[in-house]
């Protein structure tokens, strides 16, 4: 497999809201099949970057290419086509409350394909089985626990076999066990489906467990201060803040255990 192919390429990206620049002249790429984690202290622009990568906001300048196609300048059908190649699971899950889990997963399939009814039902069931929710398809989102809602949201994000799935703080508000289960799920999906993941998180244990590559953003420098595998950053980063980030949290964990 072409492991080195870039799914996302961000070039000289400057982003922000109104006049406030959050990140300046940022470039990075996400390779096919990897789990890519965006890291940083609160308010450094992680979520803002994510919102730009999924096309909710347009950058002030720079390019975002998804599978070689420019997301920023794309319009109409072309833009829609690019958007079907990405899946997003929002922090709160953002499942449609008036639809069952099954209908939530089926919605993108119904809207974008002409598959017959039994095929839709079968694919929805397959997707739900991937995340271990095939028994809960008939439930409303409000009837599920937080962890199950997150998994259902991932199933919906993967409904159209996207090239890349974005997860915004998947383990926020989950207990350590559920959060570890979610990590295992992400790894499993990454392995069986070959899906690329871009994840925003601060959970150190899950970064070690799943991340292939990490970029770390910094508020003051308005850019990327480190890039590499989590172990590399922990042990060899030249930036004191990066080492501090990895070490202080992990030393605290050591002290606790």
């Amino acid at each position: 497999m072409a492991e080195q192919k870039n799914i996302i390429e961000a070039r000289n990206l400057t982003i922000g809201y109104d006049e406030n620049v959050v990140l300046k002249d940022v470039s990075f790429e996400v390779r096919q099949g990897e789990i890519f984690v965006i890291l940083g202290g609160s308010g450094c622009g992680k979520s803002t970057l994510l919102k730009h990568l999924i096309g909710l906001h347009a950058p002030m300048s720079g390019e975002i290419q998804i599978e070689g196609r420019d997301l920023v300048s794309a319009e109409g059908d072309e833009r829609q086509e690019i958007l079907t190649r990405i899946g997003v699971s929002y922090q709160s899950g953002a499942l449609f409350g008036s639809m069952t889990i099954n209908q939530n997963v089926r919605l993108p399939l119904e809207e974008y394909t002409d598959l017959p009814e039994n095929a839709l039902a079968l694919i929805a069931w397959m997707k739900l089985r991937l995340v271990g929710l095939e028994e809960s398809g008939g439930s409303l989102p409000s009837e599920l626990s937080g962890g199950m809602q997150k998994r259902a949201a991932i199933a919906r994000a993967m409904a159209l076999d996207p090239a890349v799935v974005f997860l915004d703080e998947p383990s926020a508000g989950l207990d350590p066990v559920t959060s570890a289960e979610l990590d295992a799920l992400i790894l499993r999906l990454n392995e069986t489906m070959g899906t690329t993941f871009v994840i925003v998180t601060h959970e150190l244990p899950s970064i070690y467990a799943i991340a292939d590559r990490v970029i770390m953003l910094d508020k003051k420098k308005q850019g990327i201060i480190a890039e590499g595998s989590p172990e590399e950053l922990r042990d060899h980063s030249a930036e004191p803040f990066v080492r501090q980030f990895f070490h202080r949290q992990s030393s605290e964990e050591e002290a606790q255990s």
């Binding site: 394909t113 002409d114 397959m126 008939g138 409303l140």
Partner: protein, 364 residues
């Protein structure tokens, strides 16, 4: 050379089904039903020509293999990987009693039980609200007067323009429509009686109440409903605060207070509108005035006003009740608002009819 982007192709060669090309969601949809039709139990499918397969394609293979019992040869590597998690899983058969048709008697029974339940809730709520209201009147310190006056302003003062306009126009229209036929008998001065009695006894009160149901009953339901959805009502309850006292009483008081005032205002404006039309038909002011004074009694004014207190309680109460009945979900608040307006208007008319009979029976 076949490229990765060739659309999927399905052909049948010597009883073997041959699948070729790119099997993604779009292409799988195109050949899905043909593939199922072609596959019989034990038939063989050659999939070695498939260049790309995503989970729609995998679903097709699953369907053919597991459900139809077809043999698949040359399954591509990516499809094999996609199908791995389902090796020992069975897709539950569709239509398995999910959408059962229930007999008519069952539906009627269920609706009846739901209606009885709703009626019971209304009754319980009426009791709770009355007790809380009286309790508040006896101990004025526990009433949240700030909320009360704010509601009074939004439901009352801010409604002056719309109530006035509707009242004025109704008076005018009524006078205009009745002047023409009454003129044929030369008694068009009696339009004054018609307009004033109709406004005072019925229309002023009813119209005000309906405007209030649409403007404020819905607002009460939406406000309390949103609080319910956001668990703010639960927060009140766990603080030991009674939601009825905290949320309902101020709104109810404001509605009961504001409706008669708005009704008086609507009556005055409505009658003015009617009289203006009469004046346009060249009746002197003195004659109109005399006609008005001789037609209207204190009784007529009282009937309208007594009713308006009840209308106010009704609109405020039903709005708050629908708000408290709000379930969860994005559409719940909208449902409550609709229900507040619909049952509000219906009850206004129903109560007005009851009053008509009662007043007639006691000779009021």
């Amino acid at each position: 050379m076949s490229s990765d982007n060739d659309p999927a192709e399905l052909t049948i060669e010597d009883g073997r089904i041959v699948l070729k090309g790119r099997l993604d969601a779009k292409n799988a949809a195109a050949i899905w039903s043909r593939a199922l039709k072609a596959a019989e139990k034990g038939s063989t499918l050659d999939a070695s020509g498939v260049t790309y397969c995503d989970s729609s394609g995998a679903a097709l293979f699953y369907e053919l293999q597991k459900q139809r019992g077809a043999k698949i040869e040359g399954l591509p590597e990516d499809a094999r990987g996609l199908l791995k998690p389902y090796a020992d899983a069975d897709f539950p058969k569709l239509g398995g009693g999910k959408e059962k048709h229930e007999p008519a008697a069952t539906s009627i029974g269920r609706v009846a039980v739901a209606m009885a339940g709703d009626m019971r809730e209304q009754l319980v709520f009426t009791g709770q609200a009355t007790v809380a209201l009286l309790h508040g009147l006896v101990n004025p310190r526990i009433v949240r007067w700030g909320d009360m006056w704010r509601t009074f302003e939004t439901a009352g003062v801010n409604a002056l323009v719309i109530v006035g306009m509707i009242g004025f126009l109704t008076g005018m229209i009524m006078a205009f429509q009745s002047t023409v036929p009454l003129q044929q008998f030369g008694v068009d001065i009696f339009v004054v009686n018609l307009v004033s009695l109709a406004m005072l006894r019925e229309l002023g009160g009813i119209m005000t109440a309906i405007v209030l149901a649409g403007r404020s009953g819905s607002a009460f339901a939406a406000e309390i409903g949103t609080m319910k959805v956001n668990e703010e009502v639960n927060a009140l309850t766990t603080m030991g605060l009674d939601p009825v006292r905290f949320l309902v009483v101020p709104k109810l008081m404001a509605a009961i207070l504001v409706t008669p005032l708005l009704t008086i205002y609507a009556n005055v404006i409505g009658i003015m509108g009617g009289l203006m039309v009469v004046m346009l038909f060249n009746h002197p002011w003195a004659a109109i005035y005399n006609q008005l004074v001789s037609a209207v009694t204190l009784h007529d004014i009282a009937t309208g006003l007594i009713k308006s207190f009840f209308f106010g309680a009704l609109v405020g109460g039903i709005g708050c009740l629908r708000g408290l009945q709000t379930k969860s979900g994005a559409s719940a608040v909208g449902d409550s608002t609709t229900r507040a307006v619909v049952s509000g208007i219906f009850l206004i008319i129903a109560v007005d009819a009851i009053f008509a009979v009662v007043f007639w029976a006691i000779g009021f």
